[in-house]
């Protein structure tokens, strides 16, 4: 059974077809890279998969379960987590509170108005463990407003990892990072165990290529090409579409 299956997915904004008949089949444990030039519909595809926008046609299956009509807020509970290309964090709070919110989202305690969140030891504990994985445990108590861009990128990833997802969708996790920071993020992504399936959008080919096993090339909302890393890199259409010459 595939981890994530997308079949005949279509989405148009007015007359603009941003996703057109996309088929995607990601096996459990796979590392999939989605590439394509600006405006190819990569982030839209993520938004469709996570349910933030609903498709005009087609279906989405998560481990065989049809989730096309499942509200987006239910999908994390089914084992799907994502990060955002544009950092979307809670700027007033500390790093640990950000990660705790990710954990709380999956816990029934999120409805409880009568207990003190500071006494919820398991939130703090698991939050710290997630921060440990991205190398930020020492900054746990720091307000997010006082962190660097690179640290925030890692908080994004920590929040997704904290939810212990089966399918992890990473939207340009290397965007805006320095060379050193990229190397750090790459290490932490490589350390994610194989029971997590990863789909990643990335522009930065030098870091991303190494990570990917299979690559899907999108162009004007369509899948132009899909194959192993070697196949896609060698294909003349990749050069033509993606590299533009």
């Amino acid at each position: 059974m595939s981890a994530l299956t997308v079949t005949g997915l279509c989405k148009a904004f007015g007359g603009l077809r941003v996703t057109s008949n996309v088929d995607l089949n990601v096996e459990p444990g796979e590392r999939r890279l989605i590439i394509g030039p600006n405006g190819a519909g990569k982030t839209t595809l993520f938004n469709l998969i996570t349910g933030e926008i609903s498709p005009d046609k087609g279906s989405i299956h998560l481990f065989g379960q049809d989730i096309t009509k499942t509200p987006s807020r239910r999908r994390p509970h089914l084992g799907m987590a994502r990060t955002y290309q544009i950092i979307t964090l809670f700027a007033r709070d500390t790093i640990i509170h950000n990660v705790s919110l990710a954990l709380l989202g999956l816990s029934p305690a999120r409805w409880n108005p009568l207990i003190d969140i500071k006494h919820q030891g398991h939130l703090i504990e698991h939050g710290r463990a997630a921060l440990e994985r991205v190398g930020l445990a020492h900054l746990a108590e720091r307000p997010l407003a006082q962190t660097s861009y690179g640290e925030r990128r890692r908080v994004e990833i920590a929040m997704a990892l904290a939810q212990n997802p089966k399918v992890l969708l990473l939207d340009e996790p290397f965007a805006g990072l320095s060379i050193d920071e990229r190397a750090d993020v790459k290490q932490l992504l490589l350390a994610i165990p194989r029971d997590v399936t990863i789909v990643m959008i990335e522009h930065n080919m030098d870091v991303a290529l190494e990570f990917a096993e299979r690559i899907t090339l999108l162009h004007f909302g369509e899948v132009i090409l899909e194959g192993t890393r070697a196949e896609v890199v060698a294909d003349p259409r990749t050069r033509e579409v993606y590299l533009g010459h």
């Binding site: 239910r74 919110l101 305690a109 409805w111 409880n112 108005p113 929040m159």
Partner: protein, 325 residues
């Protein structure tokens, strides 16, 4: 931490001893007003401060609870029945408000709540058989729970104080709870909260109900205090006034709405006795707050205090580097 405990202790003693140091019944009544308006402001603050939803229709909800109490008493029910019905009516109205206005946030939410508040005002004004129209409804007697009559200013003050302290305690627990954290999360990053598995609409809806409960409680205290309710109470100016309490004191803080309520009530009642143009004064105070501490009196004063503290300590530390070899 201990400084905070001492401050809380002093505030508690000051509140409990109000009837002993206030120079007369009039001022004790002003204190009662401050307390039930503070409950109202705390209720609105749940939405404005913690949910990021600005409501301009809360006077309608405040008023509907007051009307429900007065009407129940008028048709012959006892105080307990009147209070229970008023609470239910207040929360149910809030639920209807929420279902209609939570379709949007930001300006949309403000405008829908404004319109709903105006509808309630219009109903109070025109549905004469129920509300008495312009004449309003009189409440002849205050209740006497367990034979403890609330007729005197002192007893009414203490009853209000108990309910006020309970409300503050409940809010303190609420903002520290996981649900409070969820609510503030939906204020700051609704899209992310949804992607993390939270039901953003439902969280906001429950927050509305909490706000509605506190608003209804304060409405009931209000109608027992004035022993009269008329459409004026539901007017847009009342909604704006309580919103000003929240914003001037500091939205999204526990203490802010209480300070704001004290400020507005004191200027409205006490200062208006000396100053005919008290509205002008209130306006000037708000302008000053917006310019000097736009985040509100409580967080603003805290900021200035920290600044002053640093300045005071800075010169003492300055000579130290010179002493180095």
């Amino acid at each position: 931490m201990s400084a905070r405990l001492i401050a809380l202790g002093i505030a508690f003693v000051a509140l409990v001893s109000v009837p002993y140091w206030m120079p007369g019944d009039y001022y004790i009544n002003v204190a009662s007003q401050i307390l039930f308006y503070a409950i109202f402001a705390l209720g609105l603050n749940v939405l404005v401060g913690y949910a990021g939803l600005v409501s301009l229709g809360h006077a309608g909800l405040f008023g509907i609870a007051a009307y429900a109490t007065a009407y129940m008493l008028q048709i012959g029910y006892g105080h307990s029945a009147a209070i229970v019905v008023a609470l239910i009516v207040g929360i149910a109205s809030m639920a209807v408000f929420a279902v209609l206005s939570l379709r949007s946030t930001g300006i949309g939410f403000i405008m829908i709540t404004l319109a709903l508040g105006e509808i309630l005002w219009g109903l109070a004004y025109r549905w004469i058989s129920l509300t008495g129209g312009d004449n309003g409804i009189n409440v002849r007697l205050r209740p006497a729970p367990f034979g403890f009559s609330l007729t005197s200013p002192n007893t009414f003050y203490y009853t209000t104080l108990v309910i006020f302290l309970l409300s503050v305690a409940a809010m303190t627990v609420f903002v520290r709870s996981p649900f409070g954290a969820s609510l503030m999360g939906t204020r700051d990053q609704p899209r992310r909260m949804n992607a993390l598995g939270y039901h953003v609409w439902m969280i906001r809806f429950y927050a509305c109900l909490v706000s509605g409960l506190l608003t209804a409680v304060s409405g009931i205290l209000f109608v027992y205090y004035t022993q009269f309710i008329s459409p004026q109470t539901l007017a847009l100016t009342s909604s704006a006034e309580v919103l000003l309490m929240v914003i001037s004191g500091g939205a999204g803080t526990l203490l802010g709405p209480m300070v704001g309520a004290a400020l507005v009530v004191v200027v409205k009642t006490v200062v208006s006795g000396f100053l005919e143009r008290w509205n002008f004064l209130l306006g000037a105070i708000f302008v000053a707050i917006v310019i000097l501490m736009p985040e509100g009196l409580v967080p603003g004063s805290a900021r200035l205090w920290r600044l002053a503290w640093r300045k005071m300590n800075a010169p003492a530390k300055a000579p130290a580097p010179e002493g180095k070899p």
